[in-house]
Each structure stands twice: as C-alpha cells, then as structure tokens.
Amino acid sequence: MEYLGIKPNKPKVAVFDFSGCEGCELQLVNKEDTLIDFLSAIDLRGWREASSVINDDYDIALIEGSITRDDEIKRLEKIRSHAKVLVALGSCACFGGVNQMKNVFDLKKANQEVYGDKPKETAKVKAVKDVVKVDLEIPGCPISKAEVESIIRHLAWGMPFSYPVYPVCVECKQRFTTCMFEKGLMCLGPITMAGCNAPCPAGGLGCWGCRGPAKDPNYESFFAIARERGFSTAEVNERLNFFGGFQEVNAK
C-alpha cells in the first residue's frame, strides 16, 4: 500500500519483557478493532504474548520493564547489539516505573519483606537508558496503544514522530473534566506530558505523572500552587517519585 507515492517500510519488530507487570505488552494486543491492521503493519519477529515466532533478526526492539538483575543486563546488552532501534516501552523501561520505589529502601530488607526467608537475586532498579542506549522512549503506565499505533505509522513512512510538548491539562480540559484542584484533590497534570488523553483526572485520581515531565514545566509555580492549596511537600514528592519520571525534581 502506497501513500502519496511512498512505499511503507514494514519494520521487523520484537518485543522483550523484563521486570514489569506486562501491562504494556497487554496494551499492545488491546484495541481489537485495529489489532489485525496493527500486526500487519509490522513484521513480528518475537513476542511471547502474541505469537510463537522467535527470531534474532529484528530492526526494532521494544523493551518492556525495568532492569533489576545482573542477568537482565546481559540479556539487554545482547538485544541492543541486534537492534537497529531500541525502544523503551512504558514507564518501567523509561524511568524504572513503580519498581524504582524500591531503591529508597535497604535492598536486603526489601528482599526479606517480599520473599521472606527465600531471598531472590535483586539489584537496584534501573531504567533501560541506564544500561544501554535508548533510541525512543514511549512512557506511560500503561502505554497508550493509540500512541504506539501512531509511532508505528510514522516509522512505516519514515516520518519524524513527536510527542505533545504541552501538559496533561490540555487533554483533561478537552474532555470536560472538572479540575481535581477544584475538588480539593492533587494532580500532576500541569507538569506532566500529555498524550494519554488524561484518563486519571477523569477517573477522579488526578495525574500521577506516569508519562514524565512536559517540555519546560514550570515547577516553581506548580509547587507554590500545591502549597497554597494545602498540600504538603511530602504529598507532592510522593507523587513525583511514584513512577520515577521526575528524577531529581523535588518540592522543598
């Protein structure tokens, strides 16, 4: 199928899971109405959740999950050496995700808490970019399938893809949500990158920043607003640290 006289590429894609809940992979097989078309736009070379094909010849590696063991580092490095383009898929892969909350605890104690007297090998949680070079990050907990589809379409025609630079508020307002702050609740929407269509404020939870910062966010003003509205520094920081997308950013 040609578009404006240009023939599309059919990128060879493989999906790999590391430490995560596999929710992002599950998102890839969601949106059933376009699933067949999505799968025919790519040449699937390995994906445990959707196909039995396994092949080392791929261009694009989608990495799901964070890196929490030494053997994962070796496996990731091998994938990097095969892949032309390596994509971090989801907040775990991009920032460490929920898993990186473990890093503030003593590792031994954390291990014991979860595994009791049968400890497992575990290291400090790393984002994929802390181990190998990442070419594209697709943040989100979970990722937005619509966004992944859009990225694949851009790749198929070799067109540059870009994320919205604006924060979640734009999409939140465009779906007529009453602002969380208006209801006395917290929301990271004003500093978080849009593209998810703001489901969390609409669902009454407020944004937890799973997509990481918007471009050039106004942290100072945002922290002042949160403070004026009675939210403690600890509350704000708990949110900021939740998915790991706001590294080094802290309210004071």
Binding site: M1, E2, Y3, P8, T34, D37, F38, S40, A41, E149, S150, R153, A156, V165, Y166, P167, C169, V170, K173, Q174, F176, T178, C179, F181, E182, K183, G184, G189, P190, I191, A214, K215, D216, P217, N218, E220, S221, F222, A224, I225
Partner: protein
Amino acid sequence: MIFKTIVKEDLKKLFNVHLKDVECVGPKQVATSNDGKAVYQFLPFESFDEINLNHEKTEYSAKTYFLPFRETLSTFNFKNGDWDQEIKYRKQQRVLVGLHPCDINALVKLDKVFAKDLFPSPYYRSRRENTFVIGIDCDKPCTDGFCASVGADVVTHGFDLFLRDIGDKYFVKVGSDRGLNVLNKISPTDISPEERKSYRKKTKEFLAGFKNTIRVENLPNTLDIEFESPVWKKWGDKCLSCGSCAMVCPTCYCYGVSEQISMDFKKSEKVKQLYSCNLLDFAMVAGAHNFRPARETRLKYRYYHQHRGFVESFGEPKCVGCNRCGRACLANINPVDVISDLQMEL
C-alpha cells in the same frame, strides 16, 4: 424586537413536549467544588428537570457546540493510487438553552470571525445555523465576572429567544422568526405595563450590581505602550503554560490541524484540534524556531489578542468578561488583576 411573556411551567412544556425529539443541551450540575459550590456544564438532557436555569455560570463555555475541541475537517479515502475526499458538516438540529449574556455575546464575536468575515467557515456556520439558542439573563452578576466592563452584559442579537426571570413568568425577547414560531407553540402573552416595569427594574438592578470592573476604553493603547512592562514577567512567571484558560474561554478559537492516517493505511483524516497561544510550541515554525519561547511572551500575546488585536480588526475586545479563564487558572492569572496591574504601572 418582539417582547412576550410566558408562564414558567410552559417553558418546561416546551422542552418536555414540543422539543422532545430534538437534542437539547443546557446547564447541568456535574460536581460540587471544594468550597461547596455547584459546578455546571452545558450538557445534553432528556427532561427539563435535569437542568438549572438559575445556574451562576458554567465551568466550560458553550463554544464546544460550535467549535468542538476536535473536529474532522475531511476524510481522504485512498483507492488504486488515487483518492477521494469526503467532507461532512454537522447538520443535526440542536437546542441550546441557558446561555447568559456573556455566552451569547461570545457567539456574536465568533460569528464575526467564522461566519461574517472574508473566509467564513462552513463547519462553524452549519453548526451555528442548526442550533436554536435560548439565552437567559443573569439574576445578579456572577461573583467574578466583568462582562459589564467589556460591553457584554447586555444582548441585542445572536439568539432565537432570550429570557429574564420576572417572578412567576419569563419575560421573553424574540430574536428570530424561528424563535417566534417555537414560542407560539406555548401560547405566549403580550407584555403588560407591569411586566415591562418589572423587567426593566430587574435589568437595572443587574447592571448596577457589578463589583468587578476594569476600564477598557484606552486599553489597546495602554497595551501598546506597556509592551515591555515588568507586569508581564510577574504574571508570566506564574503561568504553567497549560492552556486551561483558552480551553474554557468562550472566544478563544486558535487551532492546529494534523493529518491522521488510519492503521490500515486506507484513509487519512485532517483533524482540527483547538490549541492555545500559551502552549510552548504555539509559535514554533519549520526549522524548530520558536518565536515565543518565554512564558511571559505567550501570556502577553493572549491578552493582546483579546484586548488589542481583536479591537483593531472588529472595533471591540474579544473578551466577554466571564472570567472563566481566571477561574480555571490554577495560578490565579485573571484579566481583572493582570489588566489593573498594567494600568497601575505609572
């Protein structure tokens, strides 16, 4: 202008009986704010009891029924190396009820841009012509509106019917032929001298009740002279560049257009999405040059469009003084404070 009165029960009858097969939209309560106030939005309703015409003012403006946040402008279907184009205008009839003077004056301004200017928008016109507008005067000024300062507290046109609550009846201004036809379904009566008095008295009280005011007569010139004023930095530093102000504003209409190809690559849609001049890349051009990289500049230009650029084109400000932008802004950036600040700069 034709004036009539109707008993209140009849308005309910109009909706529940005569308009029951048409989509009707009015102010519905959707939430309660932290400080206990009802939050209203213009939403479709089945029964007249679901809406409240005594609402103070809606959270979002009614512009969404004329300029939706997202709209497909055209669809291209690819076939055998060629394509055909499909354009659909929204033609279904709709009744919009409960618009306040600010809301109607906002529509009148949008008409100037999208229906009466050099390049009318068929998308807008189709929606506008197929929407029956029933407005209602405010009993008293809303807490933070300054519509009176920008001449948007009074309406003379832009509606089909316009009501004012005068006790047990509505005083009705008829703004169009179709307005009269619809009104005739519920046997309106001619106004009595007492009703005229009562209407004028209530209107007078409303107009005299404004606490929030700004002076706009010389504002375009003040804005010009104060282009470099430190006031812009002061407010710009607070701005989150979140666009909420423009989204809720009844007259902000800036947009972007993008091409969206379907996943089966068989068709493509040109989609229009409302945007805001406060967003970081609003003035980004090819080659990634950004004409307005600073927050304060972007914020300033929003005010310039409202109170200077539009005046130059149409002889009046674009702003209707509803302060929805100020309410939506988490940083409390609002026209009365920003403009007063600028005028104090002496």
